[in-house]
Amino acid sequence: MKAFAIPLLVAALLALLPLGVGGYVLGLLTLAYYFGVFAMSWDLLFGFAGEVNFGPSFLIGLGAYSAGLLNHSFHLPIWICVIAGAFTAVVGGVLLAVPALRLSGPYFGLITLVAVLLLQNAIVLFAGITGGEIGLDIPDIISIDDSTNYWVALGFMTVSGMILFGLSRSSVGLILQASGQDAIQAGALGFNVTKHKLAAFCVSALFSGLAGAMLIFYMGTASPGTVVEIGVGVQVIIAAVLGGRRTILGAALGAIFLIVAGELLRPLGQLSTFVVSAVALLVILFFPGGFLGTALHRGEG
């Protein structure tokens, strides 16, 4: 339980921010928190199940767009849309994973990549329904008040983080880790590796979808550029590796770092992205453990 105490404390402190800082910083962090959930779900899949998913934005986009369309076309209440979005993401995830898990390494990666491209094409192709590249406007939003949005996002990230982190530390997480590290041995120990990896994929899809849906109800808009394009997925992957793979919580750190750093460096204009990428590159070259990994597991293995 000590493992939970510190992050919860940090979350509590973060919850006080709105008292101190302006709406702008809050808006920034709100976005960062949703990205944090993306990254954590990805880490569960990579760090534990050992599968490199190049298309997290496929799951995110599915969740976001199905939720968005429900709200846009049928004006269903937000919470229904969010749940439906998450559900669609899971279904999509299963359809992708069941065959894809037979593949390994670059092949699994490519398939997940292609899934993103197909989704993107579909959105542009059916612009009539989806709004195409110029995006879909979402009538309802969570709130127009920065603090409320902030607290919702923070709460969501904290809960998701605890669940994902708890899962990774649970018996199931242990089995998953074993399966990811050495499938043959895990099988010989009597574990159905495919079953566990598929389950991990579903959980990852669930939270990616949830976060994707929540994100668009925060921004009041959904467009390929914000939730589908490969670039989004790349951000997620970089965040997770940067924060420290196999730590779940580290992924959230990485995401917050990426977005905040990008913002702080905004005066550099275009170069900001350049600098952020450079920093990330240096980190993975010299501290492969990432932020949390390096902090926690010094001299291990």
Binding site: F46, L103, Y107, L113, N121, G231, I238, S277, L281
Partner: protein, 291 residues
């Protein structure tokens, strides 16, 4: 008539795809690296060529030369600054080298892309064609540049084939891709072989980039797409198999062209993606891949 058009157009674009993919597959075959900064390197070559040829008025040929040179330099940088440090790092567990190389080259690619956008803006650029004008092939008006592209691509591909199959240096490349340890036992330094292959890769990517820039025009925004298409072509043909990626390139090129002609330009890429999914599921090793 239309058949002939499809034949000609498909050929040019396919050979360009092929040229772009070969370097990518070569690196993977010999040193087991999936270089996700591939697109960025190609675009860099094209943009440098454009800048030198245009702004500095050095003329298309000098520009092209500069572009290729730049690409070779960047290729070496990619290997020495990103790939090798990861491969030799003790802190990174062996089974995770792959994802680290992927992430590393990815970040490197983004850095290149941003650098290009910063110095040359993200506006699309077209390299001045080496030879302008058009010729009429049995009723199909074809730009000389298109023919040149096809011819050059095949010259380069041919040269590469000769290098790999007819020269000592090339044989070692082939051997390294089959069994690096065996090569070490015969007294070859793998490190120098890798340097050589990255140089070769830079050359190929550079030429492909410049031709691409002249034929279709490039922008720093294309980086991702280019890498993805090279990746798909290579997997389609079989990772690490040069002849495979050539076949893959032609399948993709013609499939796109036929779709554009016969069905509709608006769904040009979709059949390719679907085919890719199919192949990866039914024959993961790719069309000509071993394993």
């Amino acid at each position: 008539m239309q058949f002939l058009q499809i034949l000609i157009d498909g050929f040019a674009i396919s050979s360009l795809y092929g040229l772009g993919a070969i370097g990518f597959t070569l690196i993977f075959g010999v040193s087991g690296v999936l270089n996700l900064s591939h697109g960025a390197i190609m675009v860099s070559a094209a943009v440098v060529a454009w800048a030198v040829a245009g702004s500095l008025n050095a003329g298309p040929y000098l520009g092209a030369l500069a572009g290729v040179a730049a690409s070779v330099v960047i290729a070496f940088a990619t290997y020495l600054l990103v790939v090798r440090p990861i491969q030799t790092s003790r802190r990174i567990p062996r089974e995770e080298k792959e994802i680290f190389v992927l992430t590393g080259t990815l970040l490197w690619g983004i850095m290149l892309q941003e650098a290009i956008a910063y110095f040359f803006t993200s506006n699309p650029k077209t390299v001045r064609p080496l030879i302008a004008g058009v010729v009429n092939i049995i009723g199909v008006r074809t730009p000389n540049q298109e023919i040149l592209t096809a011819v050059l691509s095949w010259l380069v591909i041919g040269a590469l084939w000769l290098l790999v199959n007819r020269t000592r240096q090339g044989k070692t490349l082939l051997a390294a891709s089959i069994n690096p340890r065996g090569l070490t036992l015969l007294g070859f330094e793998l490190s120098s072989i890798y340097l050589f292959v990255w140089g070769l890769y830079g050359l190929l990517a550079g030429i492909a980039g410049v031709l691409l820039g002249a034929f279709l025009g490039v922008s720093s925004d294309n980086v991702g797409t280019l890498t993805a298409s090279a990746f798909s072509i290579v997997v389609l043909g079989g990772l690490g198999s040069v002849s495979g990626s050539l076949l893959g390139a032609y399948v993709v090129g013609y499939l796109e062209t036929i779709t554009a002609y016969v069905i509709s330009p608006s769904i040009r890429t979709i059949p390719v993606l679907l085919l890719l999914v199919l192949v990866v599921y039914l024959r993961p090793q790719g069309l000509l891949g071993r394993r």
